[in-house]
Subunit: 360 residues, 2 copies
DNA sequence: GCCATGGATGTGACCGGTCACAATGAGTCA
DNA sequence: TGACTCATTGTGACCGGTCACATCCATGGC
């Protein structure tokens, strides 16, 4: 690609093309098979031969060809992450965790975005990605598109050699996948209990749209309410998972003074709720307590700083990779699933009877 | 491929392994070369032969092997994105744009994270990635690590056939790369002018740490100030690009009442500044105007909603891919570089003399 | 009727690794 | 000393495509 006339490189001949295993063998005075053995750390190679091969590799700048290896081996040394989103904090962090683990293990990371949750689109993507020759697959199943991808996966992969991993909010039904997930139930339960402890008569819940009608977060929230005999109010359902939708939904419902605490599906929603409270002249946490999920980087700097549940998404991603058992020295026992932590900041406080007059 | 007992496919033998080009040829009654021609849309194939081949492909579920193609062709059909971060909005969106364009063009996207801006780390990553056989490379040069990667790239790539693209804040010096960047100078100039128009005597600037001591944003800011003869105050430099560092830096400097407007390096910093103003009892925009860069999704919902400059990162990413000229029908003329837009919201307003007493 | 032209098709070699198997030579044991 | 084991090394075929080149046949101009 470079047209400028540069170096003529080594004086030997024209090593224009990259050095191959046979070039190394010739220089080292051994057979190509011996070179292959050295590269792969095979045991039965004499110290003498090994050293000469390593020297030759260094002097030629030899690097094994992924393509050739993949062709011979029948599978690429790649893990493809199937996700519907790259920007949202949780997704991006999980991807970062996967990449880190994969990089350490010498495995390349590819990414394939699901452009919509249309079943046809999802199925096409899965079909494309689950060619056994194209390596392992990790599905980020945080949302509907991901859940559909997971559902489409088994049929395709059933008899193939492809290895796949599933990251999500809950354990999938099929047990032929290796999965990693957060204990959302406990997390939601704890966050709800925190609000109840502050004296709120009950806690409202704003849900993120999900494939399962009753998500794990919802379940934990209900469990906490029932544990203390608190009423279970209807779930607030914004039209989408955007901050804007949460803001709009909150503007509609926050009028009723009986809402004193809201457990939001994630921090982005919580931001919309905070803003809606501000728009309605409600003070947080004076009139309303708000709790989120995820602990996005901005959360500590919202006004008020957001109480939220922190998830170790990067740790989740690392584990999702580890369970695949591929790459350099795969761990027999992957790291444990990281547990969520409740981070209490300013947006949650003691319950106070709301003055209907405070609404302007 | 599939164990569930549907079709037994061809009665011939056991098509356990994936079908190859020669299998297709046998079924279609042509040579493997003809199959190759059909796959690649070569012209000189009779309609009859083409049809039989396509039928055979369908019935065998044939799919070409990336690995074999890469091996024969000498280069993989992959673009690797080299970046220091996956979570920050701008990075993630750019990645999304690249992925979208690449997906459309039938090119796989790989990602390689620079774990630090340590020159050794960066160089090792570049060295690894710029193997001409492993496809094209796109460097996200938004920060120091990216800039270093770019600097390391030419030396490695010089004699290789690798195609690379550079995405950044400014055009790199070397012109042997294909680059795409935002006009940060104009963007900063416009944002600064907006504040000056509101009557502010001058505008302070909080910079994001960058490789160039004088970034383009800084240049545009200065130009706008000089255009109206406003003084150029010293740049506020947080220790890092985090919201937390911006918050800390702002707490230190916002005490002086002569600061009435701050142009922040990005929205994350702006959030920290907003929060610092709140902590100091300053009203925004009453006492202080704050403007950011990027227009992250939360910006409209901050209190106050943030005035900021919107960048079309996804568009930038798409263009970065297009300039590589790879994949299906590469565009001869890539889309234009998207222009930034100033989005005026609540955090910027008319200048007012700050009452020193308002500081608590 | 002859040869140039060109579309359609096939054959062999090759890309750079890996696997299966054979061959060599030294050391061990009966 | 012969048979056997075992470490070390080498050879050939193969993975699934692509490229370069040869071949075949139909057409058309002279």
């Amino acid at each position: 690609m470079d047209v400028t006339g540069h170096n003529e490189s080594a004086a030997t001949d024209s090593p224009r093309a990259a050095a191959s295993i046979r070039d190394v063998a010739r220089v080292a005075g051994v057979s190509y098979q011996t070179v292959s053995r050295v590269i792969n750390g095979h045991s039965s190679v004499s110290a003498d031969a090994r050293e000469r091969v390593e020297t030759a590799i260094g002097s030629l700048g030899y690097r094994p060809s992924r393509a050739a290896r993949a062709l011979a081996h029948g599978m690429e040394n790649v893990v493809t992450v199937l996700t519907s989103n790259t920007s949202l904090f949780g997704y991006a962090q999980t991807l970062a965790g996967i990449e880190e683990a994969a990089r350490t293990a010498g495995v390349r990371v590819a990414i394939r975005v699901l452009s919509s949750d249309d079943p046809d689109v999802v199925e096409a993507a899965v079909e494309q990605v689950s060619d056994p020759r194209s390596g392992a697959v990790i599905v980020l199943g945080f949302d509907r598109a991901g859940a559909r991808a997971l559902a489409a996966l088994p049929a395709v992969v059933r008899a193939s050699a492809a290895v796949e991993s599933y990251v999500g909010r809950r354990a999938p039904k099929a047990d032929n996948h290796r999965w990693t997930w957060f204990d959302d139930t406990v997390a939601a339960e704890r966050a709800t209990a925190h609000l109840l402890d502050l004296g709120h008569a009950t806690v409202h819940h704003m849900a993120i749209p999900s494939s399962s009608t009753v998500g794990d977060r919802q379940r934990g929230w209900q469990r906490a309410l029932r544990a203390v005999g608190a009423p279970v109010p209807p779930v607030i359902r914004p039209e989408s998972w955007t901050t804007q939708a949460a803001h709009a939904a909150a503007l509609e419902v926050l009028g009723s003074p009986e809402i004193t605490a809201v457990l939001c599906g994630n921090d982005d929603q919580a931001l919309g709720v905070l803003r809606a409270a501000h728009d309605l002249g409600l003070s947080v946490p004076g009139d309303l307590s708000v709790v989120g999920f995820d602990d996005i980087p901005g959360a500590p700097f919202f006004t008020p700083a957001l109480t939220t549940v922190r998830f170790d998404f990067a740790g989740l991603g690392r584990r999702a990779f580890e369970v695949l058992g591929i790459g350099h020295d795969p761990k027999p026992e992957p790291s444990p699933i990281p547990q969520p932590t409740l981070i209490i900041r300013e947006s949650s406080g003691p319950a106070a009877t709301r003055r209907p007059t405070s609404k302007r």
